[in-house]
């Protein structure tokens, strides 16, 4: 099993619904977020291009955050989902520094927090909150090892990229372009 997510940049309108849904689903305190929107503008008026991306933890298969965690709080879970065990986290911040995607934040309660791909929902057979809420249906989630999963099917059909592949972390967040 290998969980992954694909983001269709051709459909994403950058509305931030994924951000709010994640906050209310996971009780993320106001002022913090586990996912966010990036807009990249290219060109000169009127020859322009705009790429909009909903970003979050890349749940890398070769995660520097897991490797550098001194207590083992950061670990791989079901299907390669990278998690932080809050009780074991000492809030040292090594993982925050090691993440090329800036996907982690220090929770005010003293531990480091990040996207979990909503593992509590996935285990119940549901989609992550961001995927379920997205009005443009631009997020696809599932098991890459299952050829019938939404994410496998869309990656087979479409051209895609990953972010900062040169970091060698084997990211599992794919952007359809």
């Amino acid at each position: 099993m290998r969980y992954a997510m694909a983001v269709d940049t051709k459909k994403c309108v950058g509305c931030s619904d994924c951000v709010v849904a994640c906050q209310t689903e996971n009780n993320v305190p106001i002022g913090y977020c586990r996912d966010w929107i990036v807009e990249v503008v290219d060109g000169t008026y009127p020859q322009l291009e705009l790429e909009i991306r909903s970003e979050r933890c890349n749940h890398c298969a070769n995660s520097p955050c897991v490797r550098c965690c001194p207590t083992g709080a950061s670990h791989y879970s079901d299907g390669g989902i990278v998690l932080v065990t809050h009780d074991e986290c000492i809030g040292c911040g090594a993982c925050i520094a090691s993440c090329p995607y800036d996907a982690r934040y220090p929770h005010p309660d003293g531990y480091v927090d990040k996207c979990t791909f909503c593992i509590h929902r996935v285990r119940e057979g549901q989609q992550p909150a961001c995927v379920e809420v997205c009005p443009t249906k631009c997020l696809y989630f599932g098991d890459l090892e299952d050829p019938e999963s939404d994410v496998s099917k869309v990656l087979k059909k479409r051209k895609y990229k990953t972010l900062i592949p040169e970091a060698g972390t084997d990211p599992q967040l794919y952007f359809l372009i």
Partner: protein, 759 residues
């Protein structure tokens, strides 16, 4: 002195005050009065459903009140009984189980600690006007006495209701029972009015809401200044995404590179205010090339020959000089539309009050759709249906002696709804008017941020004898009220069921997920109590809202009990099909019974029967056209203080083209002040966003920021209010709409307010 006498004394005193000082809410007397117990037994969690896969969670149905799309959803409460999240209802055609960011962030409206907490009554203490907390009984007595006084001295017609939201229906019932039909929503004359009048005069039907655009099945979607995706009109955003998946062509006409423009095959960066020229050139090409749907036009349309002659000279070459859009692009995009015909939508937009000739621009849009045969066709415009719920039995409403139209007879005859700005105008005393408004009831609309020309709005308010504002938040308008009544949020109340049109007729229930916080009350309760104090009980015969809703629901074969379980219920269509069938004989609801390319309605009223292009004002040197729009995370000025939504966006920024920024030596993020063509300065500064996405002759900001009410702690002083800079209003002579895009601003890099003080 009896209690009653004291009240009369107070209200007289209020009326005699010559000036209505703006009062900052709760400037006096902290905290509310004790809540009256027992009143809200109906609201206790006497109904909830355990949620599968979420142990300990319960859910109750609602429909959203953050915007007019009114998506139905479920309010989830955790094991402690606290509202945690709101999730879309899968059965709801408005949202298909997916709420937008504002709906998802609706919890913030409930938790906002800046909410209005208790009724407030304006009183003068030591020569200073202040709001004093009052009990509901006391506050409603003041309202009733003042309304009665106005009715006695001037007639009940001199009371007007401004409303935007579900609760307004109860106040509408109240006002009609009181004897006035002057019930107005700024959503007509400040927003979608021109398109409704234009489509009615062309097709005999309006667009209404949610829009009947069949985007999900379209092959070509043309957006003219409509920024779907930034305006988060949920169903449309969802269907545009489906259309992208299906490979539909999107053509976006906008001086700004909007999100929708970035999803488009063609982006036409038009010179602002020249849209009609482009539309006429498209019509010219489609007629000249004979690309129109001949069978459809011949069978259903009236006035093709007149139109042919009318557009003869409006060639793409002619339009090039006006719009800056190259003739070959105009030609090519016309070809795209014709290729997709009839599955093509020239989108009518929603906020379309721009330049004062808006009804005519929307007529050009309607004509183009008619030529391409998209009205009543799959992928064009479908035929919507709604399930009406019967009104609870009540005596016939009294017939008012006058309406708002009597204020200036003969004006705006084609307006379909009451024109808000006209009520405002007619409130300012003038000897040549038969009717001046003396009292306003304002519910859920912050008129200071809604109506352009704030000076006039304030002048009207100062002319009033009485104003009561019912809102959930201490919006600017509350500061000018005589009585402020705290409404509870949609998560704490029942309202009438949602019965909006859609492909399938459907209704949605809103019920309270929690008891009202503080001493706030639902609109139905306020209206019913007030009715009682105005001796209008017979119009509100139901004992409580559950009885009313259950009675209505049983009339259509369901019940409150069932609706609590399902939230949304669909009904079979009763009238016609979603689309016209081949060779269907159709009698359109127009004077000629046909789709009117040549409008007999407009001709009869003395307007040009077919649209023409008129040049509009252009910016002077050093000034830039002020364009404004929406953010997907905010609704009007309504959500600017919502903790969840301000977390995403807590201020607006000014989009400036890099060339302009260079000329002014502006840096990204620099705070500047704006001054408009009439010398009006922005109260607050705004941060500069330097971006290629805006034309050199315009600037852009999101509407609804720059709040000057300090009790809105999260939004006070954040960004600039576009409304305060909109003082040049171009009124549409056809329907009274307020064109707001002929305003121009220049920049101040130093605080101009400080300069004024020093000199």
């Amino acid at each position: 002195m009896t209690y009653e006498n004291i009240l009369i004394f107070i209200s007289n005193h209020i009326m005699k005050s010559t000036r209505r000082d703006f009062i900052k809410i709760a400037a006096v007397g902290a905290g509310g009065l004790a809540t009256s117990g027992g009143l809200f037994s109906w609201a206790r969690a006497n109904f909830f459903e355990e949620v599968p896969n979420a142990p300990g969670m319960t859910r109750t149905p609602t429909y959203c009140e953050i915007c007019f799309w009114k998506c139905a959803g479920w309010v989830y409460k955790n094991e402690k009984g606290e509202i945690q999240k709101i999730i879309g209802n899968d059965e709801d055609p408005h949202c298909n189980g997916r709420l937008c960011p504002r709906g998802t962030g609706g919890v913030g409206m409930y938790y906002d600690e800046d909410r209005l907490k208790t009724p407030l009554v304006r009183r003068t203490v030591n020569g200073k006007q202040v709001f004093e907390p009052a009990s509901w009984d006391e506050a409603l007595d003041v309202v009733a006495q003042n309304l009665k006084k106005v009715a006695k001295e001037h007639g009940p017609e001199c009371v007007a209701l401004f409303t935007h939201g579900s609760g307004g229906k109860f106040f509408g019932d109240l006002l009609k029972a009181f004897g006035s039909e002057n019930i107005t929503a700024p959503s007509f004359a400040q927003c979608r009015g021109p398109r409704e009048v234009a489509f009615l005069s062309t097709f005999g039907e309006i667009i209404a809401s949610p829009e009947r655009t069949d985007i999900r099945d379209t092959r070509c979607l043309v957006l003219i200044g409509s920024h779907i995706g930034e305006n988060m009109h949920n169903g449309q955003v969802q269907e545009m995404s489906d259309a992208i998946d299906n490979g539909a062509t999107i053509i976006t006409v906008d001086p700004r590179y909007s999100t929708a423009a970035s999803k488009s095959k063609y982006w036409l960066p038009i010179k602002p205010s020249t849209d009609i020229a482009l539309l006429l050139a498209w019509i010219n090409v489609i007629i000249n090339e004979e690309w129109y749907d001949k069978k459809y036009v011949e069978k259903y349309c009236y006035g093709l020959e007149e139109l042919k002659n009318h557009v003869k000279t409006f060639t793409p070459e002619w339009a090039y000089g006006i719009t800056t859009i190259r003739p070959d692009v105009i030609y090519e995009t016309a070809r795209e539309m014709a290729n997709a015909s009839p599955a093509v939508i020239i989108h009518p937009g929603r906020h379309v009050t721009w330049y004062g000739d808006d009804t005519q621009r929307l007529r050009a849009v309607a004509i183009l759709n008619a030529l391409l045969g998209s009205w009543g066709r799959r992928g064009g415009f479908y035929s919507p249906e709604k399930k009406d719920l019967p009104s609870y039995p009540h005596p016939e409403f009294p017939k008012p002696k006058r309406t708002w139209r009597d204020a200036h007879p003969g004006k705006y005859n084609l307006a379909l709804e009451v024109v808000s700005n006209d009520i405002c105008d007619s409130t300012i005393p003038s000897p040549d008017r038969a009717c001046n408004f003396k009292a306003w009831i304002v519910n859920g609309t912050n008129l200071i941020f809604t109506l352009p020309d704030q000076k006039k709005t304030l002048e009207a308010i100062q002319s009033l004898e009485f104003m009561v504002v019912i809102d959930t938040m201490p919006m600017e308008i509350t500061g000018y009220a005589d009585v402020v009544l705290p409404e509870c949020t949609y998560l704490e109340r029942y309202d009438y069921c949602r019965t909006d049109q859609h492909r399938e007729p459907n209704i949605a229930l809103r019920m309270p997920a929690a008891e009202p916080k503080y001493d706030s009350k639902p609109a139905w309760w306020i209206a019913k109590k007030l009715a009682s104090k105005l001796d209008l009980d017979e119009y509100f015969k139901w004992n409580d809202i559950e009885e009313l809703l259950d009675w209505q629901l049983k009339k259509v074969g369901t019940s409150l009990e069932e609706m609590k379980k399902v939230g949304v219920k669909k009904f079979p269509r009763e009238y016609d099909d979603l689309y016209f069938y081949d060779d269907q004989e159709i009698q359109f609801n127009t004077n000629t019974g046909k789709i009117e390319l040549y409008s007999t309605d407009l001709a009869a009223e003395g307007f040009v029967p077919m649209p023409v292009y008129t040049p509009h004002e252009e910016p002077q040197t050093g000034f830039y056209r002020l364009n404004y729009g929406r953010s997907p995370v905010h609704t009007f000025s309504r959500t600017a203080n919502n903790p969840n939504l301000t977390d995403l966006m807590d201020e607006n920024v000014l989009w400036v083209n890099p060339k302009v920024a260079k000329e002014w030596s502006l840096k990204a993020g620099q705070k500047i002040w704006l001054e408009n063509q009439d010398g009006v300065l922005s109260t607050f500064p705004i941060k500069v966003r330097i971006t290629e996405r805006i034309r050199f002759d315009s600037v852009y900001m999101v509407h609804g920021f720059g709040h000057a009410e300090k009790r809105l702690t999260r939004s006070y002083g954040k960004g600039v209010s576009d409304t305060e800079l909109i003082t040049n209003v171009k009124t549409d002579p056809i329907m009274g709409g307020t064109g707001m895009r002929s305003n121009f601003v220049t920049f101040h890099v130093e605080d101009p307010h400080r300069k004024e003080v020093e000199s």
